[in-house]
Amino acid sequence: MKTLMSFIKKEFLEQVRTSKIIILFIIFVILGIMNPAVAKLTPALMKYMSEELAQSGITINEVTITALDSWVQFYKNIPMGLLVFILIESSILTREYQSGTLILSLTKGFERYKVIIAKTVVLCILWTVLYFMCFGITYGYNAYFWDNSVAHNLVFSVMCYYIFGLWIISLMILFSVMSNANTIVLAETGLVVFLLYLLSMIKKVKEVSPTTLMDGTSLVYGLSKAKEYNIPLAVAILTLAACLCGSIPIFNKKQL
């Protein structure tokens, strides 16, 4: 356990010294502020536009902004955060294969499975902190400007997207132990999400696919019921566990 902690400590030191953490931190803060800011600016923007449109004969009614608009922005923008997170962190294992730095740790008797656990834990901690920080910022501004209680299933929808992020992390880990290049890890992760997203046009697939968890907008509007997300949640958690459990034996047999 102590040896595992030392490896995790090393991972965080790397995240800090290679400036990964600071970049992610800044991006997630910006996203958190942007959601209420965009919502807040919408009426002004609309007013400006309507004056121009009025000249061409179109009239726009006065819009009223609520916290809901800010939450819609949140679900529009958080995929950007997740994407940056994936781009920056997808090399967490592959860069160690390519540089050969793992060899010395493993030839000292450090167990292989602990490498996987350490990397997974680090990614999960990072995602948890960054995601809820972004959520917290948006929540705070929303509470200050408007009233968060208009959003339906707010906590549930936020948890759904959080679990979706963890699911992506488990995919990245699995693809990282199966290939040596981080471009392949990126391509495979992207492909899985993209395909599932496309197939979700089919209602039967949408009812089970983890990509359904991304759709927080329908939840906060109350267009979807929370229980419709139970199966995608269960599928996500099961495949997440399977990916992580599968990664360890594959990594044990991997030639480094």
Partner: protein, 299 residues
């Protein structure tokens, strides 16, 4: 007791059979020189011992325990210096050694004292910079330090002196000599003078098998040629000897080589005494490792 025992080790890459049944036994407290041409399979053998490469066939016993591919249990006895060691470049040497100590479960106090001692020993004691900008020689020095950190029973070094300047080479060889009492050393090299200087045992790897192994002195005796070298004072005497003995060869200025396979050396000696020929030098020719290498590996 044997620290390492390799039996019938096979390994191929694609269609290329690199190891074809390597057998190697390394007794405790020896310094074992592992010699072979480029591409002979030295690095491959070492990586298999460490469980980084999967053997096709064969068994490896380290300190009485079987080594398995993908498992790292037997590596606890081993310190390893790869041919091109790679470290976390964002750390300083001191931080790296602390990390190495921590992931192997060493006590804090031991880590502190060992890493300070080792860094001083390899000449990186005052290095405060991150590993990022290190030269190859500096990395090799740090490599030795990390390999010795947890006082391993078996130290495996892959060409430990290849990137070092002459002073550095001498320092590292002295370090290897010094750890002999606590550690068994296996190291591969092309530099035969290094082997001659510190090795107690050697093994030649050729065509995928160990063709010769044993005590350096035994092997030298075995391959000792029956040649004698005479150095004469006078040019005229050289000619006299050449005329009298058909099987004497001139090798240099006033130097003659006589091979005992073709007659007794005493005949030559008695000719010299009978004719009162002045001698500068007479010696039995010792085989050099170079000649051994050529004979064993190249033939």
């Amino acid at each position: 007791m044997d620290m390492l025992k390799i039996s019938n080790l096979h390994k191929h890459f694609g269609t290329k059979e690199v190891l074809k049944g390597v057998n190697l036994t390394i007794p405790e407290h020896s310094i074992y020189g592992f010699i072979g041409k480029n591409g002979a399979g030295k690095t491959t053998t070492m990586k298999t011992i460490l469980g980084i490469l999967k053997a096709d066939e064969g068994e490896i016993i380290v300190n009485g325990k079987k080594a398995e591919y993908g498992e790292t249990a037997t590596n606890r006895f081993i310190g390893y210096l790869p041919d091109v060691p790679e470290f976390y470049s964002f750390m300083t040497p001191k931080e790296y050694l602390r990390f190495c100590g921590e992931i192997t479960g060493m006590k804090k106090a031991d880590i502190e004292s060992n890493s300070k001692r080792l860094l001083d020993m390899v000449g990186l004691g005052s290095e405060k910079h991150r590993i990022k900008g290190f030269s190859r020689g500096m990395k090799q020095r740090l490599g030795i330090a990390q390999a010795l950190l947890n006082s391993p029973k078996l130290l495996i070094c892959d060409e430990p002196t290849s990137a070092l300047d002459p002073v550095g080479r001498k320092e590292i060889l002295d370090i290897l000599l010094n750890v002999k009492d606590q550690t068994t050393v296996l190291f591969s090299t092309h530099i035969l003078s290094d082997v001659e200087r510190i090795c107690t045992d050697i093994a030649f790897l050729k065509d995928g098998v160990v063709s010769t192994q044993g005590k350096l002195s035994d092997i030298k005796t075995k391959y000792r040629s029956d040649e004698y070298l005479f150095e004469m004072a006078e040019e005229a005497d050289v000619r006299r000897l050449l005329e009298r003995f058909k099987n004497i060869k001139q090798t240099g200025n006033n130097q003659l080589i006589f091979n005992e396979k073709e007659g007794s050396v005493f005949e030559v000696l008695s000719f010299i005494t009978d004719n009162r020929i002045p001698l500068v030098k007479m010696e039995r020719v010792e085989p050099t490792l170079e000649s051994l290498f050529l004979e064993v590996v190249e033939s």
